[in-house]
């Protein structure tokens, strides 16, 4: 079960002609797919399109009604290859994944698909994880579009534009026999807005039709000589057809094109940010009515040469707003203009930063710089917003007239001083393992075994377990990609040393490709090293989607396939399964054994415990229900005795649980803060296990709060209390005499 449920919202997918849809971008895209009459959808989850997969999962019955086949692909390569159904058949299909990491994985299938071309509309919806909050390397999907010649759609980030582009995208794909890629940035995926719905469409040609009447055309298959023909066809037929379609259907948009002898060319996705900059400068109104000409590229690949030349005609300069690098569009535009002997000068990465997100302040600065160069008169009399002229707007903005004189920082110098002084006190707050996370104890155990055996080379993977590279664990040297944890240590394999390397891989990465790229590779190459498969029963980092090895039964998927059996199946004989990762001492001993056993060959530890987020989501309501029904229920939580805690915080350095924190020392003689367990504790047991395994301190206690206890339990508790009171009579008197 996914982390977020769209059960209540998928009803919006049934909206009909003329009704108003109000909701998140990702849900709007799903609705647009149904309106476009897709026959199949597939994908692999990952921010920001995880929710698209979750929406589709929750909408499974609606999809069935419309005859749409939906798959949770094993990987992005699987997803892209799924589009092969549209090669020979007039079937519309869409697949989705995270870019650029997913696009990297999909690249092989994507290249083959694009070479032969398609008959039915084929769309890849890629979620861009670029800029703030991103968890991946910063690269561009644009490169993939260019390399395989896939048209790249980048609509303005509002729901009507996105929905229209999904529908137009299928038409473009069919008109040009070319797959299209719809690029959605993270904020557009999650933007809330409205559009007017149309009826869902059932595909005229169905999957059944295709299966029962198979077709083949050897000219569409990538093998010489067809592949050489494909290349010619891309250039001589598909490319001009695409330009014609884009121009004729007005996919790119122009605003106030003739208003000035200069203008701005922008990626569709940048539209709202550019308009905001113009609004702040008084050059556009709240509804986007602009005084500066705009040419909005809702299709960023291919460019339409004559449309571009037409916009630039009579303009001495244009500013190109393009996010990320390399500056592919800028190079493309320069080439088109220079070959046409245009006198229009192109500004782009000379005024915008080459690398990094185009935030509001960055965009504003670039537009001001451009206008100062080409039309300084437009800025005359304009009070520039604070962000336009400084790196630290907080310091220079003048206080409002009604600001209380009692607030500190009445004058700029004092304010600057106070902000500067606060700076070093603002620490980074990266993501980390959740409260009660079952992956944390794995790294606690590794930290303990490294105290005995010394440091090891650790190859990390992608997933929540990658948080191990941050404090307090500081474990992990490289991460080479999803499922590539063990592959990342492949070279560090020699009989010149007895020290072994350790690799990590999540259950998600394992099924994605790690079973072959990591385990199979290690078996074949006779490694002597250790792999730890972190199995939390879900694809947890992407939002808790199910996997082949998920323990839960899933009504639409086949689960409960054993990781250990799979590992043994490809030839590993040294396998240890740990079914409760909170057993730190047990894990430590298993680690020790794996790292020191004289037995040669690959070693795999499968460390399994259910993701605590998912577990709590299921168990918390169940526990409330049990208590309400009057059943005996135990809730456990840990605590720290402040009197015995000496404030060294070893426990925190070995755990890092968000619920384990510090507070002022209540002891009047001590200064260092004591450890404390916050109310959010879920009683996972790690604190107790760590204090045992690491021989930490006796300060931890576990409180079991029993609702509706049995009679014997009550009686024992009363007896315990009575005994304590009776035994400590003398002690109480002694303490009274001391403390008064």
């Amino acid at each position: 079960m996914a982390e977020r449920s769209f059960r209540a919202e998928v009803g919006k997918l049934r909206l009909g002609e003329g009704e108003e849809f109000l909701g998140e971008g990702i849900l709007a895209v799903t609705k647009a797919l149904l309106q476009a009459g897709v026959a199949y959808v597939a994908g692999y989850q990952g921010a920001p399109i995880s929710h698209l997969m979750d929406v589709l999962t929750d909408a499974d019955d609606i999809l069935r009604e419309l005859g749409v086949h939906f798959e949770h692909s094993a990987s992005e390569a699987t997803a892209a290859a799924t589009l092969a159904a549209s090669v020979h058949y007039p079937l519309r299909g869409a697949v989705t994944f995270k870019s650029t990491v997913g696009t990297n994985v999909a690249a092989d299938a994507l290249a083959n698909l694009a070479s032969g071309g398609v008959t039915g509309g084929a769309m890849l919806i890629v979620g861009e994880d670029y800029g703030e909050g991103s968890s991946i390397m910063q690269e561009r999907s644009h490169a993939f579009a260019m390399k395989s010649q896939v048209w790249l759609l980048d609509p303005r980030p509002n729901l009507p534009s996105i929905v229209a582009m999904v529908e137009k995208g299928f038409e473009l794909s069919e008109a040009t026999r070319t797959p299209v890629m719809l690029e959605l940035r993270i904020r557009a995926c999650h933007v809330r807005g409205r559009f007017t719905a149309r009826d869902n469409r059932r595909a005229a040609f169905t999957l059944k039709d295709a299966i029962e009447h198979p077709r083949r055309d050897v000219d569409r298959i990538v093998l010489p000589p067809a592949s050489f023909l494909h290349e010619q066809e891309k250039i001589t037929q598909r490319w001009p057809a695409a330009q014609r379609f884009i121009r004729e259907h007005g996919l790119n948009e122009r605003f106030a094109a003739q208003a000035q002898p200069f203008g701005i060319i922008l990626q569709g996705g940048m539209y709202n940010a550019v308009v905001r900059a113009l609004q702040l400068l008084g050059l556009a109104d709240a509804w986007g009515e602009t005084r500066v000409p705009l040419y909005v590229l809702n299709v960023t690949y291919p460019l339409v040469d004559d449309e571009l030349l037409d916009f630039c005609a009579g303009k001495h300069a244009v500013l190109l707003v393009e996010e990320g690098q390399p500056a592919f569009i800028e190079q493309n535009i320069e080439t088109i203009l220079r070959k046409a002997d245009s006198a229009t000068r192109v500004h782009g990465k000379d005024m915008l930063p080459m690398a990094g997100e185009l935030t509001g302040a960055v965009m504003l600065k670039a537009v001001v710089r451009f206008l100062r160069r080409c039309a300084p008169q437009l800025l005359e009399g304009v009070t520039l917003p604070a962000a336009a002229h400084t790196a630290l707007p907080a310091v220079v903005a003048a206080p409002a007239a009604d600001r209380s004189p009692r607030l500190p920082g009445a004058d700029t110098a004092e304010r600057e001083q106070l902000l500067r002084e606060a700076d070093p006190h603002i620490h980074a707050r990266p993501p980390s393992f959740c409260t009660g996370c079952p992956e944390r104890p794995i790294f606690t155990a590794l930290k303990l075994v490294e105290r005995e055996l010394g440091h090891h080379h650790v190859s990390a993977d992608i997933g929540c377990h990658l948080f191990s590279i941050l404090p307090p664990f500081d474990i992990g040297a490289t991460t080479m990609g999803y499922g590539l944890g063990w592959a990342g240590a492949a070279a560090l394999n020699t009989d010149q040393t007895r020290r072994r390397t350790i690799s990590f891989m999540g259950d998600g990465g394992f099924w994605h490709n790690g079973l072959t790229s990591g385990v199979g590779n290690a078996v074949f190459n006779r490694t002597d090293n250790l792999l730890v498969v972190v199995d939390n029963s879900y694809s947890a980092a992407t939002g808790g989607q199910d996997l082949p090895s998920s323990r839960a039964l899933n009504p639409i998927r086949s689960t409960r396939h054993s990781i250990e059996a799979a590992v043994r199946g490809v030839g590993v004989s040294w396998v240890r399964s740990v079914s409760r990762t909170y057993d730190v001492a047990g894990l430590r001993d298993t680690f020790r054994e794996a790292l020191t056993t004289p037995e040669p060959g690959p070693k795999v530890i499968v460390a399994s415990s259910e993701c605590m987020l998912n577990r709590q989501r299921r168990e918390r309501p169940a526990m409330r229900a049990r208590i309400a029904a009057g059943e005996r229920t135990v809730r456990e939580r840990f605590g720290v005795d402040a009197e015995t805690c000496t404030g060294d915080h070893s426990c925190i350095r070995l755990s890092g649980c968000p619920s384990l924190s510090v507070r002022d020392n209540p002891d009047p003689l001590r200064r260092d803060p004591v450890a404390t367990v916050l109310e959010s504790c879920v009683g996972c047991g790690l604190c107790g296990e760590v204090s045992h395994a690491a021989v930490l301190c006796p300060s931890f206690h576990r409180a079991g709060i029993i609702s509706h206890p049995g009679r014997l339990e009550r009686w024992r508790a009363r007896l315990g209390r009575w005994l304590a009171g009776w035994l400590s009579r003398g002690e109480q008197a002694r303490l009274r005499a001391i403390h008064g």
Binding site: V191, L283, A394, H425, R429, P666, P698, A717
Partner: protein, 538 residues
């Protein structure tokens, strides 16, 4: 220049699981129902896993006279300097909003909770790694046009709702949004999840915000704008000597007494009198805490022994600041943590009630309490009489015999008769503590420490003070204790080399900080080499 109507811009800074997304949904729903366009977006993803996340909203009136049926173009991310309402669920996140330029004095109303959720780097320090909350608070107040700053986490705690609901109440109270109070409540009700708890938290947040705003407005001490208002001081979790202040506040001040001293019972009356007569006023409270601690730890005679040791140094007329630190550290050292102490504290008569209160135990619920203990051979040998203890530690048959029963973790249920009895009996070994191996060892260390302090009092009192403070290094149990004691002794061993140099005190202080900065001791080693003291440390 187009005189454009502006949208209302709202940035919410929250951490995963704090209800930031729900808060953004309520705000969007509130605005939509009031006839506004509301565009909300966020950057979820892995940042949701306990990291910091920003939610961003823009609101624009739908029936604006100039709209003419057009949709406004709203931004998907905040521009520095252009945020009307910044909401932060925690103090450091509020300061981060300031740092990012999302709070400016020309326009931003900052609604923020002043409680702290400590960052990992603050929590994992071996000493006190917490940052100065006052600086964060001052930056927030300096940067905002107006601040609605209070501990909304504490205010919403009784309702058990996420802090987002209390912040929603504070937003309503801030007056920055053009919506009626009833509309805010209606948005929560439409949300339909945990409505009763959210409304209670909303109410508490609203009331707290109204109080905070009133305190700000009526703060008559306008001459001292740098001093936080009473509300802020009360809610700031990390104010310099918070523990000290709290301890002092716990004692009722009697009229006539200048600084209120800790209370003592009849058993300590004579010793307390001695302190009041001879010890400088500023040190009396600490010294009395010291005798209370040691009498409770061992007996009244032990407290008298402590006072005697203190008086020996007192006779040398040191600066009160030095004496105060000595009174504190000597009491801490003399009450070193051994098995007896732990058993004693775990069987205190009121302990079960304290844990029950902390767990919000209802009258019809039963509490079971388990302790995680890990007695090792060393600790048991420590309990034995000196000669016997040494024999055990030397190994051999006795050690092997004992080792079979020790060396693994045990869970003792103190809420059960048997568990309580076993720890209670262990605590009774107090009577024989003075003869134990551990006591002899600690006492020898204390004596050497005091002698060195005594020795330095005339020649280098600043170094003496740092030597006193080195006691802070010795803490914890088992390996942690061994590591701390090792560091302490390493620094103690550097004394002969240090006392010859000018500025020795500063060097000692720096070395202590280095020891506390790194569990593996690498930083301390580097610092020793850096100060050119490596040759004496072998």
């Amino acid at each position: 220049m187009i005189a454009a109507p502006r949208p209302i811009t709202i940035a919410i800074l929250a951490m995963g699981g704090e209800g930031g997304g729900v808060l953004a949904d309520w705000l969007a729903d509130l605005a939509e129902h009031a006839g506004w366009h509301a565009q909300a977006t966020s950057v979820p993803g892995v940042a949701q896993r306990t990291g910091a996340t920003i939610y961003y909203l823009e609101l624009f009136p739908r029936d604006h006279p100039a709209a003419g049926g057009r949709e406004p173009v709203l931004a998907l991310m905040p521009t520095a300097g252009e945020v009307d309402l910044a909401v932060a669920s925690e103090l450091m996140e509020a300061a981060r909003a300031v740092q990012r330029g999302l709070v400016t004095p020309d326009r931003t109303v900052l609604v923020a909770s002043t409680h702290r959720v400590y960052a990992m780097t603050e929590k994992m320090a071996m000493g006190d790694g917490r940052v100065d909350a006052q600086r964060l608070l001052q930056a927030c107040r300096a940067a905002a046009r107006a601040g609605v700053l209070a501990d909304f986490a504490a205010l919403c705690a009784p309702s058990q709702a996420p802090i987002g609901a209390a912040l929603f109440g504070a937003i309503a109270a801030s007056g920055r949004l053009p919506f009626a109070l009833a509309d805010f409540r209606a948005a929560i009700e439409r949300g339909g999840v945990g409505v009763a708890a959210s409304l209670a938290a909303f109410q508490a947040g609203h009331e707290g915000a109204v109080r905070a705003l009133a305190a700000e407005a009526s703060d008559a001490t306008a001459t001292a704008p740098h001093v936080a208002t009473a509300l802020h001081v009360a809610t700031a979790p990390h104010a310099g000597n918070a523990a000290h202040a709290a301890a002092a506040a716990a004692e009722p001040a009697r009229p006539g007494d200048e600084p209120a001293l800790p209370r003592v019972g009849p058993a300590l009356a004579a010793l307390a009198e001695r302190i009041r007569g001879a010890v400088p006023a500023g040190v009396q409270a600490t010294a009395i805490h010291g005798i209370r601690r040691l009498a409770e730890y061992q007996d009244v005679a032990y407290a008298a022994e402590y006072l005697g040791l203190l008086e020996r140094i007192l006779a040398r007329r040191p600066a009160p600041a030095l004496l105060e630190e000595l009174a504190r550290h000597l009491a801490l050292w003399m009450s070193y943590e051994d098995v007896i102490r732990v058993a004693d504290l775990k069987t205190r008569p009121d302990r079960l009630d304290r844990v029950a209160a902390a767990s919000n135990l209802a009258p019809d619920q039963v509490l079971v309490l388990d302790e995680f203990l890990h007695p090792r051979l060393d600790e048991i040998a420590d309990l034995l009489p000196e000669a016997l203890g040494r024999r055990v530690l030397a190994g051999g048959l006795l050690a092997a015999l004992l080792g079979r029963f020790l060396g693994r973790g045990r869970v003792v249920r103190t809420s059960s008769p048997g568990g309580y009895l076993s720890l209670f009996l262990l605590a009774r070994l107090r009577r024989w503590r003075r003869g134990s191996l551990r006591h002899r060892r600690e006492r020898a260390l204390i004596d050497a420490w005091l002698a060195a302090i005594d020795d330095l009092l005339d020649t280098d009192p600043a170094l003496a003070l740092e030597l006193i403070r080195n006691q802070r290094l010795v803490k914890g149990y088992a390996d942690t204790h061994a590591r701390g004691l090792g560091n302490y002794q390493r620094l103690f061993g550097l004394l002969p080399a240090l006392r010859a140099r000018a500025g020795a005190a500063a060097v000692m202080a720096a070395l202590r900080e280095a020891a506390l900065a790194d569990e593996q001791g690498g930083k301390l080693g580097a610092a020793i080499v850096g100060f050119g003291l490596a040759s004496t440390d072998s």
